[in-house]
């Protein structure tokens, strides 16, 4: 049924205002959703850019972040800020441990380039199974009013405090990461390793340490995405990482593997395409539209939006 | 036989080749020399189809091959080796050569699946030929070794054999002497001459002019993407531009 029929009695002006209102609200929805996707994808793309592996444990890290935050709030009665830090610390540590246990042993030898990815699948299966053993398969949520349910009415648009916090935190983290990468000594080291690990090693950069720091940072960002998603969407369970990982991969591909700006933009594009396809096409075709778009962008720009196609390496 | 006409190549704003022109005559050993970074390998990459030039044309036996894909250029009869050896390390020596012979095979997937006589005779015939080619570079006794287990010099020879296996009219050889000691270099140059005598036209890149001075009839000199001299070794040697840009530095 078209919106027109609902409004037909009220007059043309109102139809127009109604449409604009809905659009603005959907825009806000898309921004909130897209920024979570972006935050999740940044960690994922960071690992790919620096360690050159596709880590399929990132969804699990996301889930662990959400549970760590939940426990911090329910057992330790921490506030929002400390809970986010706890989640990031826990998820970051897990990221570091996964690197230590599953990826590092495979780094030095010559092996199939997909072997580390399979190792991260092993980790993901293990951790998910343990989480299910500990928490069961059912969903949990943060306590009611953990974040006040305040809504802000910006003109015709309603945004909850939480949505604003999520958008703010996501963008803040992205800016922090980009600044760290470009302005600090460690950031430069990380970029040098991402560019060419052999040259970086020759220049005296402790490559292994860079890998560890990257793994920790990426994990922490995944954990932040996890707790924020957990607070906003109230469904924390052992398998929550699956759909997120799936979308995260799409985002990273869209933006260009290993590119942080790409993850940001890709996350927003996916958020917008999901929301807007529901709003203006049909919710039946949401995933088809989103992934069809991905497919199309790849045909036009095979390396993603910010990916370097360049000349074939010879 | 090969005409390189006014090739220009830009890499993201940087001009790597600027109007390179030269000709390789049939049956010759042609030398393309110049200091490191002069753009020699880029010329090879353009001729073999791995790179597209920004401007200019490559004519081979009268046909324009400028924008053909690499496999089509190989089919025209141009083969090459690489400066940084690119053999198929996990495959055996024999298989490496057989890959080189890829376009000489013609049996169908059905012939493969049903083991038809056409497949068997073709495989048998060409395997024998592959052994012959390996013996040309004295590697026939290691035919079933994995290529990665060969010595450095052996791998260079294998790469040469694999390039020959495509049955080329023109063979592009990229710095064959890189990383070799003088004795090995001399042996290799000998082999190149042998190959040339069998009727293959050869174009060889070298940054050390002395190495190929003795075997080339004609030499072109590149410096910073520009052709600064062309002629017989003696002429080139006396060219002041060459001495300044290149020989002078070598001392």
């Amino acid at each position: 049924m078209e919106p027109e029929t609902a409004f037909s009695a009220i007059g043309e002006d109102l139809i127009c205002i109604g449409r604009v209102t809905v659009f603005l609200q959907q825009f806000a929805n898309a921004l909130a959703l897209g920024s979570v996707y972006a935050l999740f994808a940044i960690g994922f793309t960071l690992i790919f850019g620096v360690l050159e592996i596709i880590t399929l444990a990132h969804g699990t890290i996301f889930m662990v972040g959400a549970f760590a935050g939940l426990l911090a709030v329910t057992k330790l009665h921490l506030g929002l800020g400390p809970a986010i830090l706890t989640a990031m610390l826990a998820a970051g540590t897990l990221g570091w441990v996964i690197d230590l246990v599953a990826v590092r042993p495979l780094r030095k030898r010559s092996f199939h380039h997909l072997a580390p990815m399979i190792a991260t699948i092993g980790c993901a299966t293990f951790i998910t199974s343990i989480a299910q053993g500990l928490f069961g398969a059912e969903a949990y949520r943060f306590p009611f009013d953990f974040v006040p349910a305040t809504s802000y009415t910006l003109g015709p648009v309603q945004l909850t405090l939480l949505q604003l916090i999520i958008i703010a935190i996501s963008f803040a983290f992205m800016v922090i990461i980009i600044v760290l990468l470009h302005k600090t000594k460690w950031g430069k080291a990380v970029r040098a390793v991402a560019e060419n690990r052999r040259t970086a090693a020759l220049l005296g950069i402790p490559v292994d340490r860079v890998y560890q720091i990257t793994s920790f940072t990426a994990g922490a960002l995944g954990g932040a995405a996890g707790i924020l998603t957990g607070i906003n969407f109230n469904t924390i369970h052992a398998f929550m990482g699956g759909p997120m990982l799936h979308r995260g991969i799409a985002v990273v591909i869209l933006g260009g593997m290993g590119d942080i700006r790409g993850a940001l933009l890709g996350g927003l594009i996916l958020g917008f395409s999901e929301i807007m396809s529901v709003a203006y096409i049909s919710s039946d075709f949401r995933d088809a539209v989103s992934f069809g778009l991905l497919f199309l962008i790849l045909l036009l720009k095979p390396a993603g939006i910010f990916g370097r196609t360049g000349e074939r390496k010879v | 036989m090969l005409k390189v006409q006014n090739i220009i190549k830009d890499f993201g704003g940087l001009r790597v080749l600027d109007g390179v022109v030269f000709q390789v005559a049939e049956g010759a050993i042609f030398g393309l020399i110049g200091p490191n970074g002069a753009g020699k390998t880029t010329v090879f990459n353009i001729v073999s189809g791995l790179l597209q030039p920004t401007d200019g044309r490559v004519i081979f036996n009268g046909a324009d091959i400028t924008r053909l894909p690499p496999h089509a250029i190989a089919a025209q009869g141009i083969s090459r080796t690489f400066q940084n050896i690119r053999i198929f390390g996990e495959m055996s020596l024999l298989e490496n050569v057989l890959v080189g012979m890829h376009r000489l095979f013609s049996y169908s997937p059905a012939a493969m699946f049903f083991d038809l006589p056409k497949k068997r005779t073709e495989e048998k015939l060409l395997r024998e030929k592959a052994c012959d080619i390996l013996s040309l570079v004295n590697l026939e006794d290691k035919a079933d070794w994995a290529a990665k287990n060969l010595s450095y010099g052996g791998q260079r020879k294998l790469e040469l054999a694999r390039a020959l296996a495509t049955d080329p009219k023109l063979l592009l050889v990229d710095e064959p002497a890189a990383g070799m000691n003088p004795a090995e270099t001399e042996e290799l140059m000998d082999e190149i001459v042998q190959i040339n005598r069998r009727g293959y036209t050869i174009c060889v890149i070298e940054h050390d002019m002395k190495v190929i001075m003795g075997i080339c009839g004609q030499i072109a000199v590149l410096n910073f993407g520009e052709l600064i001299a062309e002629g017989s070794p003696e002429e080139v040697k006396r060219n002041p531009l060459v001495i300044e840009a290149y020989l002078g530095k070598e001392g």
Binding site: M1, L134, A137, A139, R141, F239, M240, V278 | -
Partner: protein, 378 residues
């Protein structure tokens, strides 16, 4: 860390099931999803069976014979369900089988049990056509088609509904079946459908659909969803400023304490339907809820209740059947006896099988008031 203790208990439990098997035991296979995402349904089902078996055995079993449950995990995957069913039929030689958790797996595994003339009794399969697989297939899970017409009818009458919006999960057979029924009922009741929106399993953000619906200003939102999604949908709707006047109407999927746990106050006034509900004041149900909660430290849901009743229904059948010790004959005898079970009094009220071995049970319309399910209409 809770892990080692819990693991130990589970391992011993499994060891007990595996070793304690003296002669006169009635073996029944339980194939449910105990790991993986589907485990959130499979585990309560397993608990329901375990509690019922414990009670029956504590009272001396059935005619002195104890019930031995053999519990296997089928992960919610169809191949696994087939493997487990075959293990029960051929290796463990069970008298009957409960499960599997999902209708999808049932379509794959039930034909095998039916072909071997072994009873398969589903407690959570709601898809159409399950019992049509064959004469050995039973279920006590009541299909959405049996409840939803009543729910919508009651809601329409009491609330004076005219315009509704529909929201459902389109990639899940349970929620899709629910939608199909809703669609039919809404047409019969001559309600105007302003929009039909969908979501996918695992979605967490429903803001786009809800914004669209909110703008169309319906009288109610008809929602075919599983409990986690339903709770989140209701919660997000209220956050987007959807007035409480707009009620949510759902089916079996709403029927879990999780709905209030996740949606909290937002769930108030939501209407659903089911034969069983947690806060049903009947003594039998209160006793069940109390012992279940004490044993598993989580209140039962509809899955647990239906499994609990199912084992008692099976026990009725076993009591009535003349068992000879010949497994093949006993399976058939039990099948014939089970089909005759009538007016069994369970926690979900009076239960009988209809001629298609489906549940012939009265659904009740429920409303959430003060954080509890209460009766809206019988």
């Amino acid at each position: 860390m809770k892990l080692p203790g819990k693991a130990l208990v589970l391992v011993t439990a499994i060891a007990l099931f595996a070793t304690a098997s003296p002669a006169a035991e009635i073996r029944i296979g339980v194939a449910e999803a105990l790991t993986g995402p589907v485990a959130k349904y499979g585990v309560p089902i397993r608990n329901g069976f375990a509690l019922a078996a414990e009670e029956i055995n504590a009272k001396g079993g059935i005619k002195g014979n104890k019930i031995e449950l053999i519990i296997e995990d089928e992960q919610g995957k169809k191949e696994e369900a087939i493997n487990v069913f075959k293990k029960f039929i051929f290796k463990d030689r069970t008298l009957a089988i409960f499960g599997p958790t999902l209708s999808n797996s049932a379509f794959a595994a039930d034909p095998i049990a039916n072909a071997q003339k072994t009873i398969v009794f589903g407690t959570s399969n709601t898809a159409e056509g399950i019992t049509a697989i064959g004469p050995y297939v039973f279920r006590n899970s009541i299909a959405e088609a049996d409840i939803l017409p009543k729910v919508v009818g009651v809601a329409k009458k009491k609330l004076g509904l005219k315009k509704v919006a529909i929201l459902y999960g389109n990639d899940d057979s349970f929620t899709k079946s629910g939608y199909d029924v809703f669609k039919r009922v809404v047409e019969q009741e001559k309600l105007q459908v302003l929009t039909t929106e969908t979501f996918a399993k695992g979605d967490i953000d429903f803001s786009a659909q809800l914004t669209k619906i909110k703008n169309l200003n319906p009288d109610a939102i008809i929602c075919s969803a599983l409990v986690e999604e339903a709770a989140n949908i209701i919660l997000q709707a209220r956050k987007l400023g959807m007035p409480e006047r707009i009620r949510f109407i759902g089916g079996n999927g709403f029927n879990s304490a999780k709905l209030m746990e996740i949606a909290g106050k937002a769930a108030e006034g939501s209407i659903s339907g089911s034969p069983w509900f947690l806060d049903d004041p009947s003594a039998k149900n209160q006793e069940f809820v109390r012992t279940y909660t004490a044993k598993f430290s989580i209140p039962p849901d509809q899955f647990a209740a239906q499994a609990y009743d199912a084992l008692y229904i099976m026990a009725e059948g076993i009591k009535a059947a003349k068992l000879s010790g010949n497994l093949e004959k006993d399976r058939t005898a039990l099948r014939n006896a089970l089909a005759k079970v009538k007016n069994f009094k369970g926690v979900g009220g009076l239960f009988s099988f209809n001629e298609n071995r489906d549940a012939a049970q009265k659904g009740r319309v429920l409303i959430i008031k003060k954080g509890k399910f209460s009766l809206y209409a019988e």
